[in-house]
């Protein structure tokens, strides 16, 4: 350093003062340095949240798995005896996969179909069905408006085998298209070719039944059926040699919901000969046992998530209040004078503040547990805002903020220049403490009451939160000034939400409306700042959900 004899004392003085000057950086700085030096550990918190969420879903999944099987088995055992009466009302047959149909229509005017007690047009719908050896396929039986009893002969049954035999039936399809009673089916069959039979058509206007069992003669002949690739009487001959084919069916929708108490378990016998018929005979013990086993070991697995998981979108406009707590007020831990004298009164009474509007929006996955309990988790964006009434002096004034020492129980002060005054000033101004947060709400809803269309729930959530951005105006030690200090914002926080709502079901959607209280469990600012700020939001939650 160059010497200037006249100013040595001045420079020494400046240097001494500056060397004594220390400031305590926010945690953000160390986190950034750390993340830069150890990039592999950059996102531990997000990873932990994802693991936690996944674990919650997994626990729910495993805890509900066995229950479904037992319920299904019980209901099947209990109700099958009452099921036969409904069979006589069914007029036509559709075999299809779970969601879509590929339809073959066989007109009763042809030789392919022989009906008994026929009143109107009878139809047989055979889907692109594949009977597998483990009997795990799902087929659906449907009724139309006609009170016909359908009987299928060997040619009709040949359609089961696949495209080659469906082609064989194309002429009769073209000629009988007008006889179909289901409008959707008509559309699907207009451009009849072999490939068009594979086109999906929704069975939206039909009552569907899942066929849960078939007898061996279909299963074991799968190979023979697929071997046929041309129009040949051989197919008929082979099938004609078989005995009756028996299917057991029940409403598919009831199975999906696992509530088949009101349904009929139906036995259908389709003859490969000219005298095929539908039987209302009782099920023997062997058949009953097979159905029970099938329901226990197969059905619940296939329908496990069906109808139990729903996605929910929601928005919650809210009014945000805040509560201040001065940790330095009752502790004289090293600071003399200013802060202690100013802290004799409640800090909430030393400031002028008013609530402001905030909003939360997000989406949840909701999983339905037994006994009206729902588990939920998702992602949410929060906007919190609070208004402080202050004054702008248009020039900076030095002031001090009280801080908790991280190494001992003492307080220290950091100094800032700010134009904002708490009590007097040139122009009145509103300052907004606000944050934008990303949170992962996880919680439970419990049903208190309700019927098929309306339900009443109470719920709670815990929301790990990351503050994306925000503004923070801090009250000075003497309570006279506000200092803008965004670096003091707590990046990680935790919120808790409590809500009650009514849900209304309409057209497959569920609308939820109800009040919500959301409270912030930790201070908005870092714990080294002595004045804690806790936010509470009172809002109205509006959500809409749909089952997957």
């Amino acid at each position: 350093m160059e010497n200037n004899p006249d100013m040595v004392s001045f420079e020494d003085f400046i240097q001494q003062q500056s060397d004594d000057f220390r400031m305590y950086p926010s945690k953000r700085v160390w986190h950034s340095v750390y993340n830069n030096l150890h990039p592999g550990r950059k996102w531990p918190s997000i990873s932990m949240c994802i693991v936690l969420l996944t674990t919650l879903f997994l626990v729910g999944y495993l805890n509900t798995r066995d229950t479904h099987g037992k319920i299904t088995q019980y209901q099947l055992t209990k109700n099958y005896a009452a099921s036969y009466s409904k069979l006589a009302d069914n007029a036509s047959l559709i075999l299809l996969n779970e969601s879509y149909l590929s339809i073959l229509n066989l007109n009763s005017t042809t030789d392919n179909l022989v009906s008994q007690n026929k009143i109107g047009t009878a139809s047989i719908y055979l889907a692109n069905l594949t009977f597998t050896k483990d009997k795990s396929n799902i087929a659906v039986w449907t009724t139309n408006s006609n009170n016909n009893t359908n009987i299928v002969n060997d040619k009709n049954l040949s359609a089961i085998s696949g495209k080659s035999t469906l082609t064989y039936s194309s002429h009769s399809l073209n000629s009988t298209i007008s006889s179909l009673t289901a409008p959707v089916s008509k559309t699907a069959l207009n451009d009849e070719t072999s490939s068009s039979l594979d086109k999906p058509a929704k069975a939206s206007n039909q009552v569907t039944f899942a066929i849960i069992n078939s007898e061996k003669n279909i299963t074991e002949k799968e190979g023979n059926l697929h071997e046929q690739d041309e129009l040949s009487p051989l197919i008929n001959k082979r099938l004609s040699n078989e005995n009756n084919i028996t299917l057991f069916a029940m409403p598919a929708e009831a199975i999906a919901k696992n509530s088949i108490s009101e349904t009929a378990l139906t036995k259908i016998t389709i003859s490969t000969g000219a005298t095929s018929q539908v039987n209302n005979t009782s099920i023997n013990q062997g058949e009953k046992s097979w159905i029970e086993n099938y329901a226990l070991y197969n059905k619940p697995v296939a329908k496990k998530w069906k109808g139990r998981v729903e996605t929910q979108l929601y928005i919650t406009p809210s009014v945000v209040y805040r509560q201040l707590l001065d940790n330095a007020a009752d502790k004289n831990r090293g600071l003399n004078s200013i802060s202690s004298s100013a802290s004799n009164t409640d800090v909430n009474n030393r400031v002028k503040q008013s609530p402001s509007l905030g909003v939360e929006m997000g989406f949840n996955w909701v999983y339905q547990l037994p006994k009206g309990v729902k588990m939920k988790g998702g992602f949410q964006i929060n906007y919190t805002r609070f208004t402080i009434h202050a004054f702008d002096n248009h020039h900076p004034t030095a002031t001090a903020l009280s801080m908790n020492s991280s190494t001992n129980n003492l307080l220290y002060e950091v100094f800032r220049a700010t134009p904002y005054s708490n009590s007097v000033g040139l122009d009145a101004v509103n300052l907004h403490n606000q944050t934008v947060q990303l949170s992962i709400p996880m919680g439970l809803d419990v049903k208190l009451a309700g019927n098929d269309n309306m339900e009443w729930y109470v719920g709670t959530t815990l929301q790990p939160t990351y503050v994306l951005t925000g503004k923070s105006y801090l009250l000075s030690s003497d309570g006279r000034n506000y200092v803008k200090e965004n670096s003091m914002l707590n990046r990680f926080n935790m919120n808790a939400g409590f809500e009650t709502y009514l849900s209304f079901k309409k057209d497959g959607y569920t609308l939820q409306v109800g009040p919500q209280l959301r409270t912030q469990l930790f201070s908005t600012n870092s714990k080294i700042f002595t004045i804690e700020e806790r936010l509470q939001g009172y809002g109205l939650k509006i959500g809409i959900s749909k089952k997957l």
Partner: protein
Amino acid sequence: MTEEQMLAGCLRNDAASQDALYSRFSPRMLGVCYRFAKNREDAEDMLQEGFIKVFCQIQQFRNEGALEGWIRRIVVHTCINVLKKNKKFSDSVDIVQASGISVREENIPSIMQAKEVVECIRLLPLGYKTVLNLYAIEGYSHKEIGNMLDIEESTSRSQYTRAKAMLEDVLIKKRILLKPKDKAVTVKIAMANN
């Protein structure tokens, strides 16, 4: 943890040792950055960049001087590099006509304790403040400052002279300094609350 243990740990990229070193030196280094920076946010950004350099270059420390001095030099150079990236800075260190600038009394911090001098330094124009920091506090010569800031040595001298005069004026207005006309005497006024 001793300084040697911290150094050894940092050479192994040990997070605990890095944390200890950061905790020990970051408050003073943030004070250094704060004198150069426009606000606290900028100072923290400078500190962050400086400490990343410190940890990345720790193997270059030869134990030939104090560790704090070595860290301080890195941090100061980081601050200068950050400032040089800012166009306003390059404009401000060249302006000679800044001598007309004065600080109004009402803009001077009114609450003074041990850090009031730093707040007064920060009131100076950017170019003045930088040269004064480097010369009077960090101990660099005008020649070194000229090289660091890409300005003439004479410019550094004139900037410092004006910065010193302005700072004296501020400190005298705040009665931190008393400067009789016949000779320069620096007296620190005892604060009322000390």
